[in-house]
Symmetry: C2
Subunit: 461 residues, 2 copies
């Protein structure tokens, strides 16, 4: 019988993360201080991040050692299995070989602990007593809560109010791991108070929740802030997944022609794709696709520009694809990936032509998720369904072209705590939704695009 | 670094199930026809089960081949990893070595697909078009829904009404896999109608739901019924887990002194314990503990007697530990394992002295679950917390005695879809509850205990 799952022994868990900054075709634009407009330095970031993470944010060292204490916790669920999707292939009658990396086996059910564990660890050794963060759907908040339990750090999560109300199970997971979770906008911060003063019924947004969490960290010297995506050090930690995949694909005797991941802030996508992009930069032919919702089309319709990471403009200005820091997706959208921006590293690699961004409508994503559940068993997170929808498109294209393509997709998490979104779909309460042009224009009124960086040219790197 | 998880390669997945009937110290009492009082034959069972499962129900063949089509689906999540609980050991400061088998990695999140997949398969090859079943907390219903999706069989689930209302996510999982799930008692069966006529607000019970599912199967020749626990063939299928464990413990270079599993109908416990009980029957010293809730103390306070499997007395009479077929646990009880009976095989092995039953109060179980989540990461199903509570007791006993005991526990599933029970605990809404003696006496008024079977005697087998 053919092998279904490719496991790595624990001894093969990568001992270093891969830092794509060492291999970028063009240097990254620096984050800017919102007051002075000058590049931010370590001192600007030290009120919210511990120094080891600030160093990882700016270093161009290609490989960074993973501390033993982090390895020990990674081993709770890593290395994760790489699956061959025989059931889905058979159903689609495709000649493509589809591999999916199952990041849903972590206790939190997603890829997020890949960075929450090292972030909690570096905070612990830096003397942090408490960490604040934001969470949207709740995957990041629960992953950080678990990591804080492992290292004995207090954890406070500002959860986007609409999710807080719709997803009690996520909140309860955080509490089980010992964290304190409040709905955002809250009355606990000035940022929250000002939003509530304007709109007492605000459903909240990731941008608002970030503002609250950052403010709460800044106000207390023993408290730091943690971000679950977007920043360079988060992408770095996630590469443990792609590095495993490289070994597992070698065991399978295959190499991907197409790599697919969904992208909200960009971290699960980057974790899978960056180690392979290193090969692409050195000449390998791979189609690397980042998939986003049509109702939050940051990469496909937002400019590459300096913008704030949060709504009330407390964070540094980041060079990234953005729909504007005040953007909030339409309420009809149920599939997550709602952030207004995109990781600067992912954004610049898109601009360089190394990553192909695509958007999909939500009905296609849920349909794909149900097909996947009935053929492969696993019920995917709504976010992950974006990647599955694109996988099905590519597998059908391979069938049309009669090509034996190898498709590798990051199955970033399960959806067992997100069944309300499936219910909305199955009851016919969802609809497709594309963002009107004028809404994008309005959101971007005061955002000036950056000059386009140098294009990727396979002959040149 | 020490190994955290012991994996078996897919080639080491057991190719046969182990049938403990071949090694029972005393022959099993037969199930009896409720009308005639005579042993039931295959013809009595054929309206509700396909013939291959009826054969497995009665055979005394020691090993039964697992069909290739079942192996193919097992490989979606099996072999499951055996974990060393370093985090919990350290927290308890115990000299015991604690191993837990992670059955939560299946797409349905529990051990239940070990039997739902072969049951769906044997129904498929026997021409069954539709399968009915009952479910309490929803683990079995979701596992059967998934298996039916794999083999293209229609699936109808009667879900105990109180769970149906409290656990919408479980129902949505079933629907995602294509099943039809209704609250029981329903108006779709005579059994349901008669219960509703007596009490329109009936919260339902497993016994009632079984009556409905059996009736729906009997009424249609293309429909069969599937049971997720209790019966011999279910125990058989679950042994794939214990057989893996034997290989994994050998890789670890250890052998269990204590084996622990929670028991509602008995199947996850049996699946882990039976392959080791074979060793015990042949002289090995192992303390094999089945753990149940103090508020549903079937094994520790119910007699070994002939009783119905369901409430309206449609099933054969089974020789088992029982609290009486009309028993319903107190509403304060939130930890699952609510069935009034116990698998005949488990019951008789208790009577023979090979299995030690224990009961625990619910506050201890949830406390144990939270300790486990904060040290090992994984959030357990409330049922599984019973096994963890007993594991902690045994680990602390080993510490007191200064003994390096090896404890093996079946971690039967995760609790991510059962967070409401954790919420009740964390908000102080749960209390301990022991069943009053007079309530047991009342429930058992018309149940006559069976004679005690021969005691297990290690020198003798």
């Amino acid at each position: 019988m053919e092998v279904k799952k490719i496991f790595l022994p624990e001894s093969e868990l990568p001992r270093q993360w891969y830092n794509i900054m060492a291999d970028m075709p063009t240097p990254m634009e620096p984050p800017l201080h919102p007051g002075t407009g000058k590049p931010v330095g370590p001192d600007d970031l030290s009120p919210i991040f511990p120094m080891p993470l600030i160093e990882q944010e700016v270093t161009s060292q290609r490989f960074i050692d993973i501390p033993e204490e982090v390895i020990e916790k990674y081993l709770i669920w890593r290395p994760t299995p790489l699956y061959r999707a025989y059931g889905l292939e058979k159903h689609l009658k495709t000649p493509a070989r589809i591999y999916f990396k199952n990041e849903g086996v972590s206790p939190a059910g997603s890829h997020k602990p890949n960075t929450s564990v090292p972030q909690a660890y570096y905070n612990k050794i830096s003397g942090t007593k408490k960490i604040t963060t934001e969470t949207g759907a709740g995957q990041w908040g629960s992953a950080l809560s678990m990591a804080c339990a492992f290292f004995g750090i207090e954890c406070k999560v500002f959860m986007v109010k609409i999710s807080f109300n719709q997803k009690p199970y996520r909140r309860l997971m955080m509490e089980t791991w010992g964290a304190n979770c409040v709905a955002s906008p809250s009355t606990e911060t000035k940022a929250g108070q000002s939003i509530l003063a304007e709109n007492p019924d605000s459903p909240g947004s990731l941008g608002i929740a970030i503002s609250e969490a950052v403010e709460a960290a800044v106000m207390d010297p023993d408290t730091k802030y943690a971000l679950g995506s977007v920043l360079n050090h988060v992408m770095l930690h996630q590469t443990v997944n792609g590095l495993e995949c490289i070994k597992q694909m070698a065991i399978a005797g295959d190499y991907p022609d197409v790599i697919i991941g969904c992208a909200g802030g960009g971290s699960n996508f980057a974790g899978m794709a960056f180690p392979f992009l290193r090969d692409k930069i050195h000449g390998k032919q791979i189609d690397v696709i980042a998939v986003e919702p049509a109702s939050c089309p940051t990469m496909t319709r937002g400019p590459f520009a300096y913008d704030f990471g949060d709504t009330v403009q407390m964070t540094p200005l980041l060079p990234m694809h953005t729909l504007g820091h005040s953007f909030v997706p339409a309420p009809i959208h149920a599939g997550g990936l709602r952030y207004h921006g995109m990781a600067p590293l992912v954004s610049q690699l898109i601009m360089s032509g190394l990553i192909r961004p695509e958007s999909v409508q939500q009905l296609e994503t849920f349909k794909a998720g149900i097909t996947f559940a009935r053929t492969e068993g696993f019920i995917s997170a709504p976010e992950t369904n974006h990647a599955i929808a694109m996988t099905i498109r590519e597998a059908l294209k391979a069938k049309e072209e009669g090509k034996e393509k190898v498709i590798l997709v990051n199955w970033s998490g399960h959806g067992l705590v997100d069944m309300a979104a499936y219910e909305a779909f199955m009851r016919g309460k969802l609809a497709d939704h594309a963002l009107p042009d004028e809404e994008i224009r309005r959101a971007l009124a005061d955002i000036a695009p950056l000059p386009k960086p140098k294009q990727y040219n396979p002959g040149k790197f």
